[in-house]
Point group: C2
Chain length 664, copies 2
């Protein structure tokens, strides 16, 4: 399985006959060196400058069975290779301290690569480099967008194509292997080169793991055997949508009634302001002291019980920040549970018009205390789900209980935060019944984040940060083992002149039928933006879409099982099931919703017709019943009828047929 071949000055390492590492004296596989970073941070945005002082090629090589030593003078990197459970496992040891490490994996000229966390601009990573450091994902994310221009001007928040809440040093290659580099340190995965992928990391990684299979299906099961898989999502997410509404109990119950009266299947009320709210110039912000606000939501536990009888579940919100001088903050501070600044005071993160402390999740006591807060203040109330927000903000200049440099800890932080939520749910025996959704992530989110959401898109059609960007985000996070993701129906960020339109909301709503679950958001400036509760036509659209969603329940439940048992993402790239189709490797705004449905959401304004690529198979257009064999076809796509197709041979065809009959 593992072959190490040394000839003259060349070394080739093969795994399952696939060339993995190719080393020559002139083009070595490893370099080490020293660097010094300068990091400017501003509210979750990080401006990083890396001065590389040395970059030394480890040109000489020596092989002893499965151990390879790469050397330059007295610098010595030992790579110990083994095959464990059919996977290639490498371990690194460098005999001198160095803070920059470069590793070249052999690359094929034709290769495509996918993953590296959640990537919202580009699904195929080939041809670009991807700095991996969890951060705000950026507003606009495109230097050619005015949104980004103003976001940079006002808040340094415009972002880049690679800005992501969820970076990960893992990817899947079109050569049908997956790869993970074992480090949480700042990294740059560079896929610009023809004959190698190069990974820079700010520490010597523990090692790497690489696994090769014959099919992507096997590959995802294998990958998630290693990373872990999430528990099932609660059944109620299959029955209807979650309304993201706010304003206190009377208000949200009236929205619920309004929606139900119009025939919308509602199975959740997500009230992020359960702990109160405030207004800032950014928009409506929550009150970051995670205790029920009883004047806003009086008698909530009983209300929750009543709602559950109607199969409507209550969802809320929490994040690892605590509002300065409020009760949880003071409690944490008195026990030494907050992250410290360099003066050993509580670190106070600026959120724009308010400051917060940060629970030190590296302190086991603080971690347990906060887990207890989730159990007591959320789960015990009957809350069945929440947004577990943030995770990407850990400041680079803070002091942590575990004494690890905050720069090195930064990427691991979202995983700790996920784990804290996970254990709160698991220890109360609620896995599969209670869930949460996260935007920040890292290696380990596969197991510990019960689901993802794609973060704060702009409420517009811009390709890098609007509705379209949620699709590559879903495909990239999915291909590295996160099967459940979704996005705010309607988007979130309304800044710099972007205002959500009815059309955008309606398109987002119909798209999210074909994601893990449906949840709306009012956005950061609810009053200025389109809301479903002001528009009967949209309520009718939602009713129809939730009815279709309910009709699909047996199929989607099947997808949920595939996700938790096999690691198959709910939203899949075309190549996942059409491995030999070259085009399938390049599409990023179209996906398979499970094996049997092909979806190409409408993500441009005023689109009336759409070209869709169908791989060679028997496809039926969901809204007309027209049969297609494959190739590029054109269909009408008015609101309510996004391009969706199903496989004629699907064992769920009877469901799809009934939808065609009822909803054509």
């Amino acid at each position: 399985m593992l072959k190490i071949i040394q000839q003259n000055e060349q070394l080739s390492i093969y795994f399952k006959d696939e060339l993995i590492i190719h080393h020559t004296t002139k083009e070595p596989a490893f370099f080490v060196g020293e660097g010094k970073e300068t990091i400017d941070s501003y509210r979750g945005n990080f401006d990083i400058d890396d001065y590389i002082k040395t970059r030394i090629p480890l040109s000489q090589v020596e092989v002893n069975e499965h151990t390879v030593i790469f050397r330059h003078d007295d610098l010595e990197l030992t790579l110990s290779l083994s095959v464990e459970e059919n996977r290639l496992v490498g371990k690194f040891f460098l005999n001198q301290p160095m803070n920059r490490f470069w590793f070249r994996l052999y690359a094929d000229k034709e290769e495509s690569v996918y993953g590296c966390g959640e990537q919202s601009s580009y699904f195929n990573l080939k041809g670009r480099d991807f700095p991996l450091f969890t951060s705000e994902s950026g507003v606009g994310r495109d230097p050619n967008s005015l949104t980004t221009f103003y976001a940079n001007l006002k808040d340094k928040a415009g972002g880049y194509y690679y800005s992501t809440y969820y970076p990960e040093t893992s990817f899947v290659s079109s050569r049908k292997y997956w790869f993970h580099l074992d480090t949480y340190a700042y990294s740059i995965f560079n896929f610009k080169h023809t004959n190698f992928h190069e990974f820079l990391t700010w520490e010597v990684p523990q090692g790497f793991i690489l696994s090769k299979k014959n099919h992507y299906t096997e590959l995802l099961t294998d990958l998630t055997d290693v990373t872990g898989r999430p528990p099932l999502l609660p059944d109620y997410l299959l029955d209807g949508m979650v309304l993201g509404v706010q304003g206190g109990l009377d208000q949200v119950l009236s929205y619920l009634k309004q929606a139900k009266d119009k025939g919308v299947n509602v199975s959740g009320l997500w009230c992020q302001d359960w702990a109160g709210y405030r207004f800032t110039t950014f928009g409506k912000r929550l009150y970051w002291n995670w205790k029920l606000n009883e004047s806003l939501y009086p008698n909530l536990p009983n209300v929750i019980k009543e709602l559950e009888k109607e199969n409507v579940h209550f969802l809320s919100y929490i994040c690892p920040f605590l509002l300065e001088n409020e009760s949880l903050f003071l409690e944490a501070e008195s026990q030494g549970f907050l992250v410290l600044n360099q003066k050993n005071e509580s670190y106070k993160e600026d959120f724009g018009e308010f400051y917060c402390g940060i629970v030190d999740l590296t302190n086991p006591d603080a971690y347990d205390w906060y887990k207890g807060i989730i159990k007591k203040n959320l789960i015990a109330l009957g809350i069945r789900g929440w947004m577990a927000d943030f995770g990407e903000y850990l400041p680079i200049d803070c002091k942590l209980h575990n004494e690890v440099d905050a720069v090195l800890m930064h990427n691991e932080w979202p995983v700790l935060w996920a784990k804290c939520n996970y254990e709160a749910v698991a220890e109360t025996n609620n896995l599969g019944k209670v869930f949460y959704f996260m935007r920040a992530g890292g290696y380990g989110s596969q197991r510990y984040a019960t689901s993802l959401w794609a973060g704060d898109q702009s409420v517009n059609w811009e390709i890098h940060d609007g509705i379209a960007s949620t699709i590559p985000a879903a495909l990239s996070s999915g291909i590295i083992g996160n099967p459940f993701t979704h996005s705010d129906i309607g988007g979130y960020t309304s800044l710099h002149g972007n205002i959500r339109s009815k059309e955008l909301f309606d398109r987002w709503c119909e798209m999210n039928v074909f994601t893990s679950y449906m949840r709306t958001h009012e956005g950061n400036r609810p009053k200025e933006n389109f809301q479903f509760y002001h528009d009967d036509d949209t309520l009718n659209h939602m009713a129809r879409m939730t009815q279709i969603r309910l009709a699909l329940k047996p199929y989607i439940k099947h997808l949920f099982h595939e996700a938790t048992l096999l690691g198959f993402p709910v939203q899949r790239p075309l190549f996942f099931h059409y491995e030999k189709d070259e085009k399938a490797y390049q599409l990023q705004y179209q996906y398979l919703f499970g094996k049997d449905m092909m979806v190409k959401p409408v993500v441009t304004e005023h689109q009336e017709k759409m070209d869709v690529y169908l791989p060679d198979d028997d496809w039926i257009h969901l809204w007309t019943g027209i049969h297609y064999q494959g190739g590029i076809i054109t269909v009408d796509c008015p609101v309510g009828y996004p391009p969706v197709f199903y496989r004629k041979k699907s064992s769920f065809a009877f469901i799809f047929e009934s939808i065609t009959k009822t909803y054509r």
Copy 2:
């Protein structure tokens, strides 16, 4: 004078008791390595990505008298040091081919550095890095400017703070030394570090030269003893201003009459459309076939003679590009005088709606031919000056007669172009009588460019590309030996909503009284922008300003002589004469016009009063005669009365006094 001290693992090289190179095993002075650049070019804008494969510290050191060998294994850099004419001269020899070279000069924590060519955003370079590659200087030059945003969006032309037509690997330090690294290769001069300046170059430089003096005055004479100094500018530039006008003989003569009738001292007519013009979407463009257009300018030689009787001189325009398929292009192509593309065809540079060939100045026959064109088509006609435009565009993918890689030749090209003009003037015995002005430059422009102009500013008040930016541009090019520079009165680039106002034109006009000479420009879109010939009030302002200029003639003539004899720039930073004044090192929008005048031009809109810093001396406000001793003072600055002061002790005080009397 030269001391080389080796102690244990440390090496210190002193010159005139100043620490120049400090080397330790851990912080070596030299690194070498390999890199591979990717350069995207678009109409004179270059997007450069450098992949550094290796960066090897030459840690070991060995001294043999004045030769120092820096070593890493078998890599061996020999630095031969000598003192020549009181200057420290280093020569490099590397025993293996390497295309990346890093050199660290010792830096003082408090040190300031100036120069690196013409820098329009920052005069003091400390704290930033400066890529040095001649290019368009950028439109807006500021990511926070909408001008830059739209320039990037439409033409990739926004530029950066370091974008310059004239980069140079030379600078002056506040430690009173000047330094030049002997290479034209792409370089990055990095002044971000506390204890060293670091220079990256894409070849091993021939060597370096460093000279230290007790005063900046001596330093500039010494520097220009090495670089050469330009000849005197023609006397007529002291008598009046040059009107940049177009449209054919009748048109320009009517402008001349109009200006003269209003009392404007005019001593030159700059008619860039002497060879014809055309319109593109960018604006009015010239017809790039450098022959007199006789229908536009009939009987020009006789007209020139008539004009000269009135002390009005005729100026025109030329650049090293030839319009495709026109007569000069065809003549050059038939003789093999054009730069070639990779297919050995004439390289055709895209200028937006037209294409041009490039005269291959590395071919001695082509060079001589083009010099002959300048002599015959310009000088022989009686033309007494011209804009010698461009020089920064040499494509990186062309083939040159001298077979040097175009990337390495790129920065030398403007100097070749300057030299070609210089020799045309010199060989016709016209030095001091005929002159030209260039924007592109490099090491050697000091001798070969008879004067500079600051290029194409935006017609607005933006700090990085508007009127203000011409001041750091003048100071930086001046401090490395280019004494004569000026700028287009009124600016040039009217794009993306920027339209020249009367106020901007008037302010620019009054500023340029205190530069080497005064010349107006209609800009790229003459019709949409403010022009002096439509405004009597501005004509009166010009009259007054040219009268003041004429009154200053003896003083300015003195500055011209200082420039050509001693290398003192006409526009000087404050520290040039106030060496002990710490503030003098940090001001970049204020300058000394010669030793005896202090100028702080008004470069913001609607400015009524201005704070001015005056070093400790006896200063008289030019417009009121009020005496100031120094410190920060505030003066009124209505249009026509920019903050200008003179030294009471000046031997030219009688001139200044008479101006105060007449023009207060």
